[in-house]
Symmetry: C2
Subunit: 255 residues, 2 copies
DNA sequence: CGCAATTTTGACGTAGTTCAACACGTGTGG
DNA sequence: CCACACGTGTTGAACTACGTCAAAATTGCG
């Protein structure tokens, strides 16, 4: 840690995400959870570009800006196309509770469809962007084009599955260590979902955000990370993370 | 506790669930998450009972029997129509990890649709029953009847929402107490979803199952329950639970 | 009834929190 | 340019909630 001081200012955040939008990483449409309803739809032999009527592509969102407010009536569902969003709930006494993260290629707001309003607010972590699908228009189109409905179903079930994965990663871990490791493995997979698995990535969110989400204290987090590093299981420098021994880490995650 | 000894044998479990199937509580179809695809479907002015071609109603499942195996290829999705199911994952070393519960009126196996195989095994807690929907037949029907697809979408999004509720109830609680209380409030709502809210219900699962799910030890659970009871926040006797002060409990659940 | 399974209680150890200090980077204003 | 405040991350020491181990109490079952 001490020896990294000289280059700390130039550590990972600047290399990969800093200096800002110049090389912002957009998810490829083919890798995006929204994809099923974005492309042309085959209907009775003719291809239609229905998507134009409900899809708004790549809206930029500044860091800290929010995509939607908790309890606001559902208008659009979103796909994150670059950056990350944190999902925040709020309890009576105004404390913010992070209930999830969404990475590029994942859906945002899909769980608002049934209650018809958003269940939390979504805040961009770093400069991000979203594709927007207007629900009422989508429903209109899908009434005319059954194929689109099937696509939409596929979309919902895929995100549903992803959610389950995310839950299982954090439910009922015995120790803070296994919880954190499971979290790291989960987001490593999600961040590099489209690329080959290098197990190296930048943690987009702050330690405080992680601690908040996992229900730990930032101090505990810090200590565990230091311990994992000393055990040569990870390499971490600022936000840049490399998982060195995924086998052992996986075993740790399951206790 | 001591003074209840005389009538302990006749305590709630026997009144409401014991003596067994005689008055098993089936969820009403109108209150069931599967309902959207079970009733007759309006298609071009004519009502069809398509459901007959893919729906099997009220299959009895004995206590401890399983509805499906983890990783088995998806065949049916289910609705619990009476009883309760626990969803069990299993780690390498064979330990069973409960990842969720499903009560009457809730879906079972819906998150298997995308990966096309079940993500966990589902085991009946007590004598239970299920309605079964054959996915391949449902998909066939829905290709012909667009309305059915919309119904199916509504079904998926509703369950999706419920899942989110369940997650939020247990993610990142600071203390074992707030975690347990949040869990109790969550299942109180789910068990009595259709009835008026009395805040009284029978815990269908064992303390071990709850502890497993929440990642606590059975001893800790027991101590917290005793403490809550001493504080006049709940009344618990065996499996029968009454929430006495929901306001205070809700505050506890949010820390 | 008697045995096994489940739940509760007690005593003690430990993992994680709390509180406090420090280190570093960044932004602001004099 | 430096001084200072502020946000974020790391480290140390003391405290406490929860886990562990052991045993008793209660419940369920053949």
């Amino acid at each position: 840690m001490a020896k990294s001081k000289a280059r700390s200012g130039a550590s990972a955040p600047f290399n990969s995400r800093g200096m800002n939008s110049s090389q912002e990483q957009y998810v490829k449409c083919q890798d995006c959870a929204m994809n099923p309803v974005c492309g042309p739809v085959v209907s009775g032999g003719s291809q239609l570009s229905l998507a134009d009527s409900y899809l708004t592509k790549r809206c930029a969102i500044q860091s800290g800006e929010q995509a939607f407010e908790k309890h606001a009536p559902l208008k659009d569902i979103f796909a994150v196309c670059s950056g990350v969003f944190k999902l925040c709930d709020q309890n009576e006494i105004g404390e913010e509770k992070i209930v999830g993260f969404r990475f590029a290629g994942e859906l945002l707001g899909d769980d608002a469809i049934s209650p018809n309003r958003y269940n939390y607010k979504a805040i961009a972590i770093g400069k991000s962007s979203l594709c927007k699908v207007a629900m009422s228009q989508l429903v209109d189109c899908s009434k005319a084009v059954p194929n689109l409905q099937l696509q939409f179903i596929s979309l919902l079930t895929k995100q549903n599955y992803l959610n389950h994965q995310g839950i299982n990663a954090i439910v009922a871990k015995k120790t803070a260590e296994s919880l954190l490791v499971a979290f790291l493995l989960n987001i490593a997979k999600r961040i590099n979902a489209s690329n080959e698995q290098t197990w190296q990535f930048d943690l987009p969110m702050s330690r405080d955000d992680i601690a908040n989400f996992l229900g730990l204290r930032r101090e505990t987090l810090s200590r565990i990370l230091t311990k994992l590093q000393k055990g040569n299981l990870i390499m971490i420098q600022g936000k840049n993370m490399k998982l060195l021994n995924v086998d052992v880490l996986s075993r740790l995650a399951n206790q």
